[in-house]
Symmetry: C2
């Protein structure tokens, strides 16, 4: 704790006075009371971003899907499960925020019909078929809010891709209408402590070096603060 | 650690000389490199069983699906992901075991076709359809092994049910051909520290009181040891 206090004390307060909302982790979409669809996101990157934003003096709320990570010091955490839970909670905490960083790996789809009772094997060898409906797009929804459109809320998206990172991240930034999109090679980094990030904006792409997620989060927060023209302590 | 040592010292060694194999946690069945199907099993009950078996003097190996729980002291842990991984690993560790306790919430089904690349939303609003194939039945496979059939391996199954616990547990015991089936109300207890167990054997059912999973695991191991006519320290 003393080390954390020292680190907090010596960190440049580039987000002082900024209210920051971060989403992290996977979502979990129920198939029945026991089973569900999720993804391999560990939440580590998002928790690191929340921590770095707090160290930078931000007032940070972290909306987390089901992960078992310790909450960074000084960060308010709200746990959610499904994409719809997450959207609802994000919208509740969004007013007056200056920065929204969407690191969560939100499920694109959820089962069309979630069963109230556990689906049983009936011994016939028959297997269920699962249809899906599209989940709400949390990042795009927030990016289309009045605050974001007026430039009062700076939105940052994340893209985890298994291939063609630059092309996918560039396309995703335009599609989601956000000023900054952070790409990473998802399957290779999920659950790992290290990562490499690609920052894509309207002018092009910049690579952050392969290092710890904690260090990358600090670099990312510095980058965001510069884009805000934010208060330098 | 001193408390643990004391507890270990004073625990009756009812499984002394017994080699015990325990499975725990959910399995994770990949849909693509990022997404998958899992369930809400926390692994706590299985880890408690492994711990109790170790405290009772057993030589314990724990085959664990993806959970982030600390390995009980003195227990050998092997991490797996899918049902097929788990079966393969169980079979590798099965020879010479005297007790097999299958607490893992193994996925009944896995996606029929796991994609090599992340399935993308193409913007058309089209959603994927998912077909499933049946996973191997780990408990039934082990229960049909020569060692189990000859009475050299005592097999214990678990059933997590959302309703009609006694009926489902009784039917599952017969279907899996195991001498002891432990039922619990899954969805209500997944992730919780407490539970209540229903022990179902050929003669009927006995309820263990609602208490901590750690305490229930000790009671369950005592029950299993009695059924083995095992060495009392």
């Amino acid at each position: 704790e003393i080390l954390e206090d020292l680190e907090a004390f010596f960190s440049p307060k580039v987000l002082a006075g900024k209210a920051v909302l971060v989403t992290a982790g996977p979502t979990y979409e129920a198939i029945d009371p026991v089973r569900g669809i999720t993804n391999l996101s560990s939440g580590k990157m998002g928790f690191a971003v929340a921590r770095a934003a707090r160290l930078a003096g931000g007032d940070v709320t972290l909306i987390a899907g089901p992960v078992s990570l310790a909450t960074p010091r000084g960060v308010k955490r709200v746990n959610v499960r499904s994409a719809r839970d997450m959207l609802q909670t994000v919208q509740a905490y969004l007013p007056e925020r200056g920065v929204f960083v969407a690191t969560a790996a939100v499920a694109d789809w959820r089962p069309a019909n979630s069963a109230d009772q556990k689906i049983k094997k009936d011994g016939s060898g028959q297997t269920p078929e699962l249809s899906f409906v599209e989940n709400p797009d949390i990042l795009a929804t927030v990016a289309q809010s009045a605050a974001a459109q007026k430039g009062e809320l700076f939105c940052v998206g994340f893209a985890a891709e298994s291939h063609d990172l630059l092309a996918h991240a560039t396309a995703k930034r335009v599609r989601k209408q956000v000023p900054l999109l952070v790409g990473n090679i998802g399957p290779a980094t999920f659950g790992q402590d290290d990562n490499a990030l690609l920052l894509v904006d309207a002018h092009g792409a910049r690579e952050l070096p392969h290092t710890s997620k904690q260090a990358l989060a600090v670099l990312l927060i510095q980058d965001i603060a510069q884009r805000l023209g934010g208060a330098q302590a």
